[in-house]
């Protein structure tokens, strides 16, 4: 079956295919991951105006920006984690570009997360979801809809005395996603694909450990997941082509028929 | 004293044979867009014209001015086209006139110059006063101007306050001097102050820096004064009426241990002034004091020997100072009435004294004027006037 990309483009222009922006605006206010202060920190997003139709540049407006590879809505490549460091084609500039387009399933646990910020997605929960929506096919993004992105930034970061309390996947379900469902990658609305308290698991940060260890990808700080169907959306998520980059901020678009 | 003779007490050579002549005033103006070079040029021209001399005949030049910058006397030689063999720039403010006379006298005695023109003058632009204040001296820059920028007015206010506290002088005493001087100026056409001054007006005048009020202060203006100094035979050959120079004293930075100035340098050498002249204070017919402020006039009455220190107030109360009074003083009104044309104020008293003694005053004459003490004072470098000088001159 030949698929005509021009028809696809016409359908998008005519609104027959809905384009949903899953990306948070890059701004100074958006929280970043906070690591223990002795360790290196991810740079927050900052802008410095170069000129604004003024003596620094009379007819133009432009900015210099500074940010980390993992600032705001961003893509994680396998090279980001120690478990994926030796895999082939594991950096943003070497990943096969065809992999930047892939379908997605959206698992809604917004009610559970509202009740418990430390909600951990389990195999049982996913199997119950599959019973309603069908099995997760290979090569799909699994996106965890928590509606976390709808909160103000303080609740979004949810930092307490013992660190962040934000939802994510339990270690077993991540292993199962890779081994039993051959997923493309894992995406969340929170800062980090792992739970806020994910450093307590064994291994610590299992989403990063298992996904990247098997050459799969991550997407974080997504939004508008509540506008997507449980199945059927296609994600365009192409990170910047940074030399040996571990990830990058990007525009994540979902296409829905 | 015979020429070449020395005064017994000081060992100083006499001024025999030295005369001053040709008193010249370029009428004062409150503000002038002309330069100091212009004003001094007027004075030099008036001197040469009235003496029937060419500029080349002037072989000695003494210049005093506050607003000549960036020139000094040397710039004026080329500016005026003169080639003197004796040149002096005398920056001692109100003492410059007396000092110029003293320098010129020795030059003509020694034959180093024949005819010395002593000229002093300043312009007055609208910002001259402020600019002069802020560049007056290093100590003024560092230790006076930053303290209220009241200029000399504030410095002399402190001196006046202290003198009043110490010797019981009252504002009414200063008023008497100012009022008499104003009377003496009424006949001077170019005087800045043209009306009689009453006691009420003086007392109610605007305060400038307590206790100094408006009529204790001179009015800055533009103008110039000049005279010629030469030997007696030269004056005669020029058929110019002249006065004889009997004695001159000069002293700078005297009495350094006085906490606040209550006496000027005259008090150090005053006996010498009188002994070299062979006169006593009661013998002179009139006095020209340097009157930047009436308190300084009062100090000069003491320090020149007319009364003792602290008796100034009493002396003022018991004398009258108009030209027909018991003690004619500042007979053309002094700077307090005619105005202070910068450095010309240092020559004004001498020029007026010469006029009275040769019988050609601009204003009212002093009857039977035969001799006069002329005093100069100036340069409040920090907190006191540093320069002082006095001369006794007599009718020929």
């Amino acid at each position: 079956m030949t698929v005509d990309v021009l028809s696809f483009a016409r359908a998008v222009a005519a609104g027959q295919i809905r384009v949903v922006d899953l990306t948070q605006t890059l701004s100074q206010d958006f929280p970043t991951i906070v690591l223990p202060p002795e360790l290196g920190q991810c740079a927050p997003f900052r802008m410095e105006e170069i000129s604004r139709y003024d003596e620094r540049g009379p007819a133009w407006y432009w900015n210099n920006i500074s940010l980390g590879e993992h600032t705001g809505t961003h893509f994680d490549a396998p090279i980001h984690w120690i478990s994926g460091k030796d895999l082939p084609d594991n950096a943003v500039d070497t990943i096969d570009v065809a992999k930047f387009i892939a379908p997605a399933v959206v698992i809604d646990c917004s009610k559970e997360c509202a009740a418990d910020p430390d909600f951990a997605l389990t195999i049982a929960f996913v199997e119950a979801w599959e019973a309603r929506h069908g099995k997760i096919e290979p090569g799909h993004w699994v996106l965890l809809r928590s509606d976390w992105s709808k909160q103000d930034f303080t609740k979004y970061a949810n930092l307490r005395d013992d660190g962040a309390h934000t939802p994510g996947p339990a270690p077993e379900v991540v292993k199962w996603f890779v081994e039993a469902r051959d997923v493309h990658g894992f995406g969340t609305e929170t800062i980090g694909t792992d739970l806020g308290q994910g450093h307590h698991f064994n291994p610590p940060f299992p989403a990063h450990f298992y996904m990247h260890g098997k050459g799969r990808f991550g997407l974080q700080c997504l939004t508008n997941l509540d506008q997507l169907p449980p199945k059927g959306a296609v994600i365009f998520a192409a990170p910047l082509k940074i030399k040996q980059g571990s990830g990058s901020p990007l525009r994540v678009l979902a296409l829905v028929s | 004293m015979a020429q070449g003779a020395r005064d017994k007490s000081s060992g100083r050579q006499s001024y025999d044979g030295v005369v001053a002549c040709l008193p010249v005033t370029i009428p004062y103006r409150r503000y002038s867009t002309n330069t100091a070079q212009w004003w001094l040029g007027r004075a030099l021209r008036e001197l040469t014209t009235r003496a029937n001399l060419r500029p080349a005949d002037i072989d000695g030049l003494a210049v005093s001015s506050f607003t000549l910058a960036p020139d000094t006397a040397i710039g004026l030689t080329q500016h005026f086209g003169v080639s003197p063999r004796w040149l002096d720039h005398i920056p001692f403010g109100g003492a410059s006139g007396i000092v110029a006379l003293r320098r010129a006298a020795r030059a003509v005695q020694a034959g180093d110059a024949e005819i010395v023109a002593c000229i002093a003058g300043d312009t007055n632009h609208v910002d001259s006063f402020r600019k002069t204040l802020s560049n007056f001296s290093r100590f003024a820059q560092d230790a006076v101007y930053p303290y209220g920028a009241g200029g000399a007015n504030a410095s002399f206010a402190l001196i006046t306050k202290n003198y009043m506290n110490q010797y019981g002088a009252k504002r009414e005493d200063f008023a008497k001097l100012c009022i008499a001087q104003r009377d003496n100026a009424l006949a001077i056409p170019f005087a800045m102050m043209k009306k009689k001054l009453t006691l009420d007006e003086y007392m109610a005048a605007r305060p400038i820096a307590d206790p100094v009020h408006l009529f204790d202060c001179v009015m800055p203006c533009a103008g110039a004064e000049g005279l010629l100094v030469c030997r007696e035979d030269v004056a005669k050959s020029l058929t110019l009426p002249y006065v004889r120079v009997l004695s001159i004293i000069e002293r700078h930075n005297a009495f350094t241990s006085d906490p606040i100035q209550t006496r000027g340098g005259w008090a150090v050498d005053i006996a010498e002034l009188w002994s070299m002249a062979g006169l006593k204070p009661d013998a002179v017919d009139f006095v020209q004091t340097y009157d930047d402020y009436p308190v300084i006039v009062m100090m000069q009455l003491e320090d020149l020997g007319f009364c003792t220190k602290g008796e100034g107030p009493d002396f003022v109360r018991s004398h009258t100072f108009t030209n027909d009074g018991s003690f004619p003083q500042n007979t053309s009104g002094g700077q307090l009435s005619v105005g202070q044309a910068g450095a010309a104020g240092g020559l004004l008293g001498l020029v007026e004294a010469v006029r009275q003694l040769i019988g050609a005053p601009l204003g009212t004459p002093v009857r039977d004027a035969r001799s006069c003490v002329v005093s100069g004072f100036g340069m409040i470098n920090y907190d006191r006037g540093l320069s002082s000088g006095a001369a006794i001159i007599a009718r020929a």
């Binding site: 930034f153 | 820059q141 560092d142 101007y145 930053p146 209220g148 402190l158 305060p207 606040i260």
Partner: protein, 413 residues
Amino acid sequence: MSEPLQRPKRKNPLQRTKHPLSPPGVRSRTAHGLTAAAAEGRFALQVCEDCKTVIYPPRDCCPSCLSARLPFRDVERGGVLVAETAVQVSADPYFRERTPWRVGTVKLDAGPLIVAHLHADALEGYRVRLDLKLDKSGSAVVMALPERDTPNMADDPHLREMTCDPKFRRVLITDGRTPVGQAMAKAFAEAGAAIVFVGIADPWKPVPGFEALRKIGPVEIVPLDLTDSESVSEQAEQNGARIDIIVNTAEHVRSGGIVDRHGLTTVREQIDIRYLGLVRLAQAFGPVLRARGADGANAAAAFVNLVSVHALMNWPAYGSYSAAEAACLSAAQCMRTELRPGGIKVMNVFFGPLETEWFQTVPPPKLAPSALARAVVRGLQQGLEDVFVGDIAEDIRARLAVNPKALERELAS
């Protein structure tokens, strides 16, 4: 008796803001020996090395023995006010709008006669105590104070021209997250500040001590992130016109040097928070502070920089920190000149290791944040420009004055 200062009324927004003027500030090089003393709150005059005469006005040759060895030394401040005057008419625009202005002649016990500004309670014929102060031109002047403190002494309007007293003024503490920032807010509240704005960055991160901070009466928490140009300009736009004193409490302390450090992220953060943060504050707040230097009784007065004493000499154990602090010191010196036309003082407060977490392993003596805060308030009350707080800071300064190269070697161990 000084009239106690009343809390200023709200400014009429339709009234033109008075433009700052400067009193005569030109001084000879030697006279700036007084400026150096005034900057630190010392009373020092030239004392001839050879004949011990105490000399004033400053000069290059002793008036007793003609010696040229005339160093500035601390001398006794007492004397008698012999005569006073009130200048009613002045040639200078600054003084012209501040008459009557009292000055007087003081006979100092140590010898010289000094023409000085007079505090309202310094009376003719009585003993006085002299102080060297930096006036609005930034040059030193002598001020005669009453021999003993009098009630409301700091409120004398002429003295207030020379100082940056926080009383009734509105202050911005740029970073309230740290113990230093919070101690500073408390100290300024106690010093009578009308408002203490406290900047907090990243409000989504918990702020230890926030509740106690919020409860301090004049405190108003405002968003302020010194690493974000937009945040700084926004704060300046909102509150700049009603901030009279800024205290930059931003800090970034990490141990470690340059060669043996791995990577640039920490160093970049240091430069961003400390040096670039200072530049952002200068650009956003500088112009409005400068324009408001003569804006009534609570006119804009000062910019306070908290700077490690190791800005003056690098401490390799905290080597990259020292370098960033040095950048701040140089920037502050530039700001001093740029803000002077508004009569705004830039006060650098130098300190050694603090009793805070990032100096944990450093042995005592260390400075408590509250002591630093009190020193800042005192420095502003006296109108100082260079303040050294605590034993280490004073020790470093003393050693620098004698042999900087020896100090450089000593700090290496």
